[in-house]
């Protein structure tokens, strides 16, 4: 849940995080654009879910990203 709020801030552009992972940066950028075009709660929830799915899939190599995002 704590990470959810960080993901939300990231998607809304309220905080910045630059990853060393190209795919992660492209995803954050796409989700920010998606939310910018439709700032509904439904879209926000789907964006958060996409980030969760991404980090779950790449959990082995995403530990540092998640650690840094948790500090935001």
């Amino acid at each position: 849940m704590e990470l959810d709020s960080k993901f939300e801030k990231l998607i809304k552009g309220e905080v910045q995080y630059k990853s060393a992972n190209l795919g992660c940066n492209l995803l954050i950028s796409r989700l920010q654009r998606k939310y910018d075009q439709d700032s509904s709660q439904e879209v926000l929830n789907s964006c958060i879910q996409e980030l969760k799915t991404f980090f779950e899939k790449y959990k082995v190599i995403s530990a540092k990203d998640l650690e840094e995002i948790a500090k935001l």
Binding site: Y17, K18, L22, L26, Q32, F54
Partner: protein, 323 residues
Amino acid sequence: MFISLEETKKLIAEGRLLHIAGEEKLMEQLPRGNWIGGTTPYFITEDGGITSSDKLYVNEIDFAADFKAAIYDKDNIMNITKDAYQNGVTLLILPFASEVAVDFSKEAPNSEELLLTPIVGWISGFNLETGGTAKAYNGTMGAGYNNKAVALHIGLPDNKFASIGIINIFKYNENSDKIEFFEDSLSVEKCLVNGREVNFEEYITKNNIDTKLPLISDYNSVLVNISIKSVSKENHTVELYAPVFAGREYRFANPVEDYHDSFVKCLKDAGSSNPFFSCNCILNYLYGDFEGKPTKPYAGPVTFGEVAYQLLNQTLVYAEIIE
């Protein structure tokens, strides 16, 4: 490795899993086997850039736990993620100016599935002086296509992961004009410059903008280039090598004093890497005069577009395997 036709045939006969780039007349002579490939006569080898119709650039994929080759057309190219391995990497080759390449360039950046699958690859081309046909080959079927994309889906062992990176020498000035477009498109008439609607061709002409410089958009610190293909003063249109997207901000890149020096600096900044595949853009090769100049540790085909999840321009793309 940059090797002869006979040496390449030998590797195929040995059953090696290969990615191969070369001119069409050589590619057409390759036997069936475990390989995919595409056409280009331009390469940046370990010894530097070269135009060759005698040798092929071959990458051996010696880390695969499993693999499968697949072909895609414009109607099913976005199914590429469904065919990929859960833990893997996909090498994709799309023929220049084909419908499947255009469709991929427009759809990939909006795909919800794409970033869950490492996809790296290139747009195949031909000799710009003599002409030719851009093709992608599925060696497992012994077939070449000018209207279909070919992918090699590579499954990785559980302890290995694919990592994709790019090297882009271009930067932009935050204070330069902000350009926005009304729709996702490869051909542009109107745009907004600092919020004011103008004709894009007239803006370029009036401001004497060097069209060797790409448009750049910032994707969360990743600078993505869009190269200018042509400017028509007659039709007042601008054609692009990759689409611009509505809702994104673009700026023209700053001029680059020395292409090769800039690349060398970027390569140093990028740190160490052990790529199993890399490719670089034909526009970098031509504008930067890369003949005889290496970009170590990156070597491979010189291409008509680069794929790192989505289509890029004027960029070096690479993939490596990490444990």
